[in-house]
Amino acid sequence: MVYWDNFKYLIQLNNNEESLYTLTFQVTKDCNCNCTYCYETNKEKIYMTEKTGKECIDFFFKNFLYSKIKIVGLNFIGGEPLLNLDVIDGICSYFIKQCCKYQKDDWLKFCNFSFITNGTLCNTQKFNKFLEKYKDFLFFTITLDGPQSVHDLCRKYKNGNGTFNDVFTNWSQLFKKYPECVKAETKVTISPDNVHQVFNIIIFFIQNNFKDININPTFEHKWGYQEAFIYYQQLKKAIDFIIEQKIENIDFECLRTDKFLNENKSLCGSFYNKSLTFDVNGNIFSCIRFTDIVDSDQEQYCLGHIQDEQIKFKSFLNYQDAFLQERNPKCISCPISSGCKFCPAYNYLQNGKLFFDNTNLCLMHKVEYLISIYYQKKKFNINIENQLSKEETIKIVSKEVFNEIYST
């Protein structure tokens, strides 16, 4: 564990524009599952070849060899990335050897490989061999949505059967054997199908010693007041449980009030030109969501191809100008917009503008903000002034709860 602890610490120390670069490889557009809420709606049986993967690395070396970038991480995505494990192996190995060839010592020191998998293919001999080879360089997340009744609602094989039994067995075994590689964290997607189960989901992860619980209401659904009320009740119940049971050391986004009040909006790496995504054919994007695995009427926001001499990097300054000009006026005046989840790719696919905020998540974000105030009051007896209007708060939490928690 010491290696990755140090690694995170050193990344913080080096947290500047040159410090971190993520290369994402879409190694396949295929998946062995058929999850109900998956945003990748255009899956096909197409796989990246090892030759293309290596050419992507060559492209990066050609364009960034003399850059100030110190830290490079390789991320593998699908479909289900483990369907193309041989190519992942080939790319990782080639990257290390190219770094040796060009003596890119910083890249080697900080180099890390990662992926998020549905966890169904983690019990093969081939995967174990891969883990043994790269365990010092690798970390990955297995997506679990919660207890079986919740997980199997949305996460299914193509034949309709839930994946929970296989995934949980694989996760438990791998977590015991490779605790440094398998993250005890989860990214749960909340959809209208499972929003009423949020409490059960959180308890499941606490009981299974997950330390980092990320609950993400899906971008694709326009959330209404009724669902927001359910979400609030579920989170409140979970907070009460956490406090009553004196559960500590959990990194749970809703417990942090500060994230809602930062002056600077937190933006993903694709906004700052700190990531490149290569699709199966070697086309270059700033994020997987821009690739054609996601259905959209918009023209593809492609930066170029690995064979191009130059690609269309957008300058940071242009991005900032567009950010200021394009933003949704409703969001500019919102007092808690800084902590709101913001996805330029999703904005673009919906309305053709990278920075015109989509407001589908608006109410769920407000719920998380109100819950963070509730937590501070209940756990530490700290009263934080509610920045939302009385009318809006009552519509989300009910009049009784408003009078009890938010009226002071």
Binding site: V2, Y3, D5, N6, F7, Y9, L10, L13, S93, I96, K97, C100, K101, Q103, D105, L108, K109, F110, K133, Y134, D136, F137
Partner: protein
Amino acid sequence: MEIRIDYELQNYLLTLNFQDKSYFRLLKFLTSQEDTLPEWIDYYTKKYDENYKELQILEQEIADMYCPEGYDNTKFQICCQKGLIKYNGILG
């Protein structure tokens, strides 16, 4: 006796410690691969050795710098994550 190390020294220690582990993992990987060039192994073995020596020297310098009177400056443990040095032996 536990003593807190200066923040900058702690960062320097963390860096060397991190490099020690990263060169080690790299050499472990390279030596297990059939197509590794011998000059890569030579180059990174040298880097690993240099870094290791620097780490040893730094640790001893820190131990000398913070050693309280009456304690043995050769018997210590450093936790670079917490930035603490612990002296385990009393002189005489």
